[in-house]
């Protein structure tokens, strides 16, 4: 009986796979220097990013389903509670079945940092670093760094002005950016490898200025590019997380070290 269910699930996944107009691909990003909202040291926010490869869409439910079919220890109900909270994959119908509100082409959400990490490792990859992600997401449709444009900011902020309870759109619903990468903004939040590096973890949060972002006003002192609210809010979101947390609007994409040019 159990095998039968698995078999059905596999067939279903294969059917979805066949439907995929495009699976996500790793695309090459040429590195460079840019000004980050988070300085490496005080006053020094000029950051050098090496070449890297990154998935052109966030990981979808279909892709993540395939992963947990191969890796049952990451299925809902089996995953260790040290690594996932109790809302892990909660929008799915079951441990290996999706649901109408979490369709195959929607980005997977309700995944923890640990689960995202395990997925990327299975693809011989890793999560992007914050700087890689920020570099990638500075682009708009025709410019590598569009952050100075008021329209670019307002466009992103308007996503924040919608409630989060609605159905999440499929990946690739919006046009790609300058790097031919989709959905860096306005679809879901995304895990980054070093999400907890700008704020320290729970037990030493009261030391020094490490968690200044959480205080009224103090954040305004340590952040660079203060007017860049669109990115600042993403930093705030990431800094509220612990590695086992999952949320309704938080997904991820994977990256690889980028020695190889395509």
């Amino acid at each position: 009986m159990r095998n039968l269910i698995y078999a059905i699930a596999f067939v279903a996944v294969l059917a979805w796979s066949a439907q995929l107009a495009q699976a996500s691909e790793f695309v090459h990003i040429s590195g460079g220097e840019f000004r980050s909202v988070i300085p490496e040291a005080e006053g020094d926010n000029l950051i050098a990013v090496d070449d890297f490869l990154v998935q052109d869409t966030p990981v979808t439910n279909a892709e993540f389903l395939r992963f947990v079919l191969h890796r049952p220890e990451w299925q809902r109900g089996s995953a260790v509670s040290l690594f996932v909270d109790d809302q892990y994959l909660a929008t799915w119908a079951g441990p290996i079945s999706l649901a109408p509100e979490s369709g195959p082409q929607q980005p997977v959400t309700q995944v923890s940092w640990f689960a995202a990490n395990a997925y990327c490792e299975s693809k011989n990859a890793r999560l992007p670093s914050w700087y890689e992600w920020e570099y990638l997401a500075a682009a708009n449709g025709d410019m590598a760094d569009a952050r100075h444009l008021a329209e670019w900011r307002q466009d992103i902020l308007s996503w924040y002005s919608q409630t989060g309870g609605d159905q999440i759109a499929d990946v690739r619903s919006e046009p790609a950016n300058y790097y031919q990468v989709f959905d860096t903004h306005k679809l879901v939040w995304e895990w980054v490898d070093d999400f907890n590096a700008f704020l320290v973890s729970g037990d030493n949060r009261e030391q020094g200025g490490a968690d200044q972002l959480q205080f009224c006003g103090a954040g305004a002192i340590s952040m660079e590019e203060k007017e860049n609210y669109a990115i600042l809010m993403r930093v705030a979101m990431l800094s509220s997380l612990e590695a086992r947390y999952t949320t309704r609007n938080l997904g991820f994409r994977c990256a690889r070290q980028g020695g190889v040019r395509q």
Binding site: Y160, S161, G165, E206, F215, C216, S239, S240, T247, L250
Partner: protein, 502 residues
């Protein structure tokens, strides 16, 4: 005898040193009414069973604490991000403490230990936290309560200072979280409680910055640039233009003493809080311990509060405003207290409050006539009759002050609209006059006028169409209909005066 005196003094000093006492007692006569501040606010560990806090939605206030010992109070509050109506036919995504703006009112006693549970609903997009100005300690609780969507944080504090305090979200960017409605009030009662009154209400002002202009229909996103420029689209009491008018007006009876707990969430503007037709018998300025008496208007800082008390002497409608007065009439900062009871003619001769102050709010019950036609407009099915009905409501709110309810105007000052040759001669000109105003000499029905009508730039195309259709079919006028398309066309074709709203 001398030795005895010294011993007594030494004893007294020793006692003073080990008993917590209000600081004022030690520091002499000058401070004899000093409350002692936070140093005198700790009455020891909480006693008895923990108590679940009663949380209320504005304008309601929880009942007085009525307790003579320090307790542990559990506050259970959930952050929700919700689409709610900010004005008739206009929605906005509010971020809320407890599902409404302002957030739930919290009421505790000085010395209470508050165990705060902050939950962030799973559907939230944003992390949130809470900074309570009633907390003594860095960040006011903000760092301990930083909560991701779908999660919960718990922290405790002792309410050492009495007073009326603002709480707000302090997650970056702080201004945006506050601008979206994340604020409320916590009252820390003095140990003996507040003097009893007949009615208590909770009113909190805040301003909103939307991409569309005031009353532009549909869903309106937050406008960061307007917020930075402090150019508010709406200034509101209790988070919505309709929150305190019509059926939702506050109610009191002649002879009642009314206490208003007034907060100002900001994020930017300071409130000149005033109640038209009342004088505050007492104002606990800035939500503190002392009161000033016989006050007309009190300043409420952004991130601050005030408690006002007054006895209502005569029936009628009292109008709550921010007396930075364009905010009241053009941005929505207006509420009402309806007082019932018998006339008291020696005190006040009894004329109902002037329509100038009420504007279209007096017709709040009839606002549905306006929204009906707005809906119909969307489907292209608006009828002339609907326009006339909606236009009457809008006319009475906006135009009747000058042109008079009967359309006859005032001789020599405001031209008539009733049986008006000027109005009826040229529909397009009529639209232009409403849109752009009219300055200089005109002749209407044989009489000369030479004054100024300001551009009605707060009105949208729908509203102008309805008002003009009403005017073209009232008081003996019998001709014509103006559609919002007609207005849009004129609006697009006219060079607008510098400074008129977009």
């Amino acid at each position: 005898m001398r030795w005895l005196t010294i011993v007594v003094i030494a004893l007294a000093m020793a006692l003073a040193a080990c008993q917590p006492q209000p600081a004022g007692i030690e520091s002499g006569e000058a401070n004899e009414t000093d409350t002692g501040g936070s140093a005198a606010g700790d009455f020891g560990p909480p006693q008895g069973e923990p108590i679940m806090a009663v949380l209320t939605t504005a304008p309601n206030v929880p009942p007085p604490v009525n307790r003579d010992y320090p307790a542990k109070i559990i506050v259970d509050m959930e952050v929700r991000e919700l689409d709610l109506e900010i004005s008739e036919g206009v929605t906005y995504t509010f971020w809320t403490f407890g599902g409404s703006v302002p957030g739930n009112f919290i009421r505790v006693r000085q010395g209470d230990t508050v165990e705060f549970h902050l939950k962030n609903h799973p559907d939230s997009k944003m992390p949130h936290n809470i900074d309570l100005h009633a907390v003594t300690g860095p960040g006011g609780g903000a760092s301990s309560s930083f909560t991701a969507p779908g999660h919960e944080s718990v922290f405790s504090f002792k309410a050492l200072n009495q007073g009326l305090f603002v709480y707000h979200c302090a997650t970056a960017p702080v201004g945006m979280h506050i601008a979206n409605g994340m604020y409320g009030l916590i009252l820390v009662e003095p140990p003996e409680g507040l003097p009893p009154v007949d009615k208590e209400f909770y009113i909190m002002q805040g301003e909103f910055y939307t991409v569309g202009k005031y009353r532009e229909k549909g869903h309106q996103p937050f406008d960061m640039q307007k917020a930075i420029e402090e150019n508010a689209t709406y200034v509101l009491f209790n988070g919505s233009e309709g929150a305190l008018v019509g059926d939702k007006a506050l109610k009191a009876s002649v002879g009642d003493t009314v206490r208003l707990f007034v907060g100002n969430g900001g994020p930017n503007l300071v409130s000149s809080f005033h109640v038209i037709g009342e004088i505050f018998d007492k104002v606990y300025t800035e939500g503190g311990t002392r009161y000033q008496e016989n006050v007309q208007t009190t300043l409420v800082p952004a991130g601050g509060s005030a408690m006002t008390e007054f006895r209502v002497e005569v029936p009628g409608t009292l109008i709550i405003v921010d007396h930075s007065i364009f905010r009241a009439f053009n941005k929505g900062a207006l509420g009402m207290i309806k007082v019932d009871g018998d006339d008291n003619l020696p005190v006040y001769s009894g004329k109902e409050v002037d329509a100038v102050y009420l504007g279209d709010k007096v017709m709040a019950e009839e606002l549905s006539l306006v929204s009906d036609v707005t809906q119909a407009e969307l489907t292209g099915s608006a009828t002339k009759e609907q326009r006339v009905n909606a236009g009457r409501v809008l006319y009475n709110g906006t135009c009747s002050v000058c042109h008079q309810q009967d359309g006859k105007g005032l001789a020599g000052v405001f031209p008539p609209l009733a049986n008006s040759d000027y109005l009826m001669a040229d529909k397009r000109r009529a639209i232009e006059v409403v849109l752009n105003g009219l300055t200089g000499p005109v002749t209407v029905n044989g009489s000369d006028f030479n004054s100024v009508m300001p551009p009605m730039s707060q009105l949208n195309d729908d509203e102008i169409a309805n008002i003009l259709t009403f005017a073209l079919n009232s008081w003996g006028n019998e001709d014509g209909e103006v559609s919002s398309g007609d207005v849009a066309e004129v609006r697009a074709a006219t060079e607008r005066p510098q400074g008129a709203a977009h």
